[in-house]
Symmetry: C2
């Protein structure tokens, strides 16, 4: 007698194309979490961060190193150490700052078709069409700051981790299922 079980697992792979790289997505999520905890006077560890935002631990460590070196986040070693952002800086740090540090500003400045030379004088076919999109994205990234982004989180209005899985795989064999879910 065999049953149909299903096992669910998160995947960390970047979908064919998203707006930001995985590095940047994790970085933004981490920064918002740190911002929220900093507002509450808490310093938080890498372990806690990767648990809360559902990101791979060691990869997140590299990203936080980058943000720390960029001066966007403060780090402290040793027990009781961790990451934090001074409250007074929260409203000054924008989404743009995070993206710039991790992905660069190609996304708002580059040509939509990847041409090196694409400008008003020498436009690609979608140059005009792309203007508005790029301008919106750029304005949004400069407007959104860590204070605003983290208050929604603290109030429970927004979320940083998906409760729902990305990939669902069906497994008939109970033993196989248990070997994966144990």
């Amino acid at each position: 007698m065999s049953y149909l079980y299903f096992v669910v697992y998160l995947n960390h792979k970047r979908s064919p194309i998203e707006m930001f790289s995985k590095k940047c997505e994790y970085g933004i999520r981490a920064a918002i979490l740190i911002a929220g905890e900093s507002l509450k006077g808490q310093r938080i560890s890498l372990k806690y961060i990767s648990e809360q935002i559902g990101s791979p631990n060691a990869f997140t460590a590299k990203i936080l190193q980058t943000l720390t070196r960029a001066g966007l986040v403060d780090s402290q070693k040793g027990p009781t150490g961790g990451f934090e952002i001074p409250i007074e800086k929260l409203s000054q740090i924008t989404l743009h700052d995070i993206v710039e540090a991790l992905d660069g500003s190609q996304i708002y400045n580059g040509c939509g078709l990847g041409l090196a030379e694409c400008s008003e004088d020498h436009p690609c076919p979608i140059h005009e069409h792309f203007k508005l999109v790029r301008a919106d994205l750029k304005a949004m990234a400069h407007r959104a700051n860590l204070l605003d982004l983290s208050t929604g989180l603290i109030k429970g209005f927004t979320y940083l981790k998906t409760a729902c899985p990305k990939k669902i795989k069906f497994i008939k064999d109970k033993k196989v299922l248990n070997s994966i879910t144990e």
Copy 2:
């Protein structure tokens, strides 16, 4: 006696993050070129396409296969063969159709932070901020069609290839320079 030479070369590597994948960029450029030539009653070959849009030949072949299988482009084998798009279909095929076939629609539908579950009811912190950008991008991609995109090209108002190089590398040694540029 040594001089300072510089050698210039195009790079086909995707920058850290752009709006579309390289595959999609080449696909869009190829489709617009084919559209323009089709308007002039010409069928064009892979070789001509990759020369005109400055894309790697074999990679472009794969992309055109995908577009052909998706029914967006017609292909014909043999001498005088090549790629074309029936004129009457040009205004019906949108940027969205090309992107959808090559990259999927994740870019306008997916969460900006990569969360699997991100919606009005369970939003990520940047969900509201991203709405406008995504909507603009989606609307633009549905609005822009191959007829419009290719007429600018035919009239010489827009370009599909960069005259200007992406990377510049300085090389002092004349022998090294010659070995590269020969």
